[in-house]
């Protein structure tokens, strides 16, 4: 008689880690991970050791010390006695300014060019093709430097505006001065202004925001809100009766009238630039470094956005256009109501990376002396304090944060426009 025994219970042996296919891949992954971490640790240790040998232990205390240098474009109060942290903040705001301006212009320009490239008009289509191919195939740094050089060499300097028979005159009813130091435009002023709101107290990050600006924005938002309500009501009436009441004057009125009242109440007037001393004084000074960077980044990124838009539109089946035409819609309406809304789903994801590219490319600002975060924190501060590692790390962290925030916002927008699957 035979006795049935359980199959021998296999005990775990060390060699199974390699020879048993159940464990092998895990073993290799663990080894690779340990190796990778060792490498990172060694790099980190080596850096720390070398810095210690040089007597330069990593420290961020320099951020609290007076910067000592001046910055020309300041969106917040800053002077040479402010700390380095504040200088970095000024630079960050400058980066954000050019990034936001650039993204807006590039989108408008890109969408227009992308749509026009598909135009049935041969000349328009070819001109747009030429634009896209020329612009996107030359490095953006060259466009930035070229724009700057053209502005410096071709535009008149302020002294040309002087004298009995000046070589240059101001544009647009003597209100805009175009010089090789930048463009001076009239600035909005309020005689009965509400003053400023002070944020963040006395910290290095404190800044003032004009309450007038807040009020104007609030009035605008309220206007748009009411306007949307009126449109909803008109939609309702159209649903019920088939007649759409004419509401455009009402909708325009609720936006414009309160705005005008606000402006009058605040004592709105324009401050015009005027030639005083060496430079134009008064007005808003858009420095040529800002304009060169903004323009070059916009036209460069627009070329890529144009291609993305074109791809998005071509991705929409032609049947959609034909169906819309069969319903009697005109070409402009077809594009606006049928094609673009669907194309957006294809357009948004690659558009995000173009916005990220534009923001990161803005660090080329240094080529034209635009004082962005690279110019202040990772430029002059790095040089004056000798804290290479700390400033560059901090700079990378800031760019990373900006990029992730842009991604976050755009992904949220993408969620909204993407096809809802049921």
């Amino acid at each position: 008689m035979t006795t049935l025994t359980d199959p021998p219970k296999e005990s775990f042996r060390l060699s199974m880690l390699i020879y048993d296919t159940r464990y092998r891949s895990t073993t290799f992954q663990v080894i690779a991970l340990i190796g990778f971490l060792t490498l990172i640790g060694w790099l980190f240790n080596n850096t720390a050791q070398n810095l210690a040998d040089l007597g330069k232990e990593p420290s961020f205390r320099f951020l609290g010390e007076p910067a000592g240098y001046d910055i020309n474009q300041r969106l917040i109060d800053y002077d040479s006695q402010s700390p380095h942290l504040r200088a970095a903040f000024v630079g960050l705001l400058n980066t954000l300014l050019v990034a936001v301006l650039g993204c807006i212009t590039a989108t408008i320009l890109g969408v227009t060019i992308g749509v026009l490239r598909l135009s049935k008009n041969w000349l328009v289509a070819k001109v747009m093709t030429l634009y896209v191919e020329i612009i996107r195939n030359v490095p953006v740094l060259l466009w930035i430097v070229l724009t700057m050089a053209v502005m410096i060499e071709n535009l008149p300097s302020p002294k040309d505006f002087r004298g009995e028979d000046p070589a240059a005159t101001m544009q647009v009813f003597d209100s805009v001065a175009v010089t090789n130091r930048g463009i001076y435009v009239p600035e909005p002023l309020f005689t009965r202004g509400l003053g400023d709101a002070h944020l963040f107290g006395n910290s290095a990050m404190n800044f003032n925001i004009s309450l007038d600006l807040w009020l104007v924005i609030a009035v605008l938002i309220a206007g748009f809100f009411v306007s949307a309500k009126i449109r909803k009501r008109a939609d309702g009436i159209q649903e019920a009766t088939g007649e759409r009441p004419s509401t455009w004057y009402l909708r325009l009125g609720v936006i414009v009238v309160p705005l005008i009242i606000t402006f009058v109440a605040l004592g709105f007037h324009l401050g015009y630039p005027e030639l005083k001393g060496f430079n134009f004084q008064g007005g808003t000074h858009m420095r040529n470094s800002l304009i060169a960077l903004w323009l070059a980044l916009s036209i460069y990124t627009a070329a890529f956005i144009a291609e993305i838009v074109r791809a998005g539109i071509l991705a929409i089946s032609h049947g959609q256009t034909e169906a819309a035409a069969a319903l009697g819609l005109r070409p402009g309406k077809i594009m606006k109501l049928v094609v673009l809304p669907q194309a957006l789903r294809v357009i948004i994801p690659p558009l995000i990376s173009q916005f990220l590219n534009l923001t990161k490319n803005s660090s080329l600002a240094i080529a034209v002396g635009y004082m962005d975060i690279t110019g202040t924190l990772m430029g002059i501060t790095l040089n004056q304090t000798g804290r290479e590692l700390e400033t560059v790390m901090l700079g990378m962290l800031i760019y990373l944060t900006i990029s992730l925030l842009i991604s976050l916002v755009m992904n949220w927008y993408n969620e909204r426009v993407k096809l809802v699957e049921r």
């Binding site: 190796g35 240098y69 020309n72 060499e153 002294k159 001393g277 060496f278 240094i366 002396g369 004056q384």
Partner: protein
Amino acid sequence: MKKTVFFSALTLAGLAAGAATAGTLDDVKARGKLNCGVSTGVIGFAAPDANGVWQGFDVGVCRAVAAAVLGDQNAIEFVPTTGKTRFTALASGEIDMLARNTTWTYSRDVDLKFTFVGVNYYDGQGFLVPKSLGVSSATELDGATVCIQTGTTTELNLADYFRANNMSYEPVPIETNAEAQQQFLAGACDVFTTDASGLAATRSAFEKPGDYVLLPEIISKEPLGPLVRHGDDQWGDVVRWTLNALISAEELGVNSANIAELAAAAGNNPEINRMLGTEGNLGEMLGLDADWAVRAISVGGNYGELFEKNIGENTPVGLARGLNAQWTNGGLIYSPPFR
């Protein structure tokens, strides 16, 4: 097998890290080439000539060091650096020494961990303006647009000067001297400020130098000199005493014309003998051979000759000796004795 490769890679990397900490003098000798940081191009101080050969006052110091250490004044890799990149280049070991109109300051010496080996030009910050601007003093510059090289001491002096005089200005930050010239000549800035010697050098390259004038105010002390990394005293000594040899040579009347004769045999001036190695063993103490100073001086002559040839009054730059005369002539140029 995998492990072996990994560990040997680690060991190699460790060795490489270890080797980098050996003395700079040995590194330079082993490499057979001196990596010398210079400016991106300031006529008279450091700029490539029509044949692409680097010429100038600061370049002369590099060549003297190369000749002293390697015996060949052309065994140099010139590394052009901007005001911003120069310190990182030196600290990281990309260059062995920096001879680039660099101001000796407390924080650069103490905090940035560099060793200034001496002063080869006593300078001060000045302002260059077009004559047509109608300005005769820096105190009239309220509201002016000023072109300024970033990452320099001049940037900080400028901020201090305008603050102290309660004036405002618009800084236009630029990276290189060439950019500054472009902006200044196009009238994108009213004033160009940097060390007075640099302004004179820049002006000499203008099409019409006569249309531009240096304002009388000198707003800072700018002792310019070569520098090396902290912590390698032997290498620091080599560069320091090469510079001192050039300065002493002028004081003692040793020049490119008579050096061969003086170095051939011991003469009757013991200090010259010690310096040129015909007496004593100063070269050996430095880790070099006995003829090191002879070679250094033979390259471009003594300090005075270098000055006259590159930036002196008969050159387009046209700088007077002024503070940079020998101490025996009422200047500040003074070398410790070779003893």
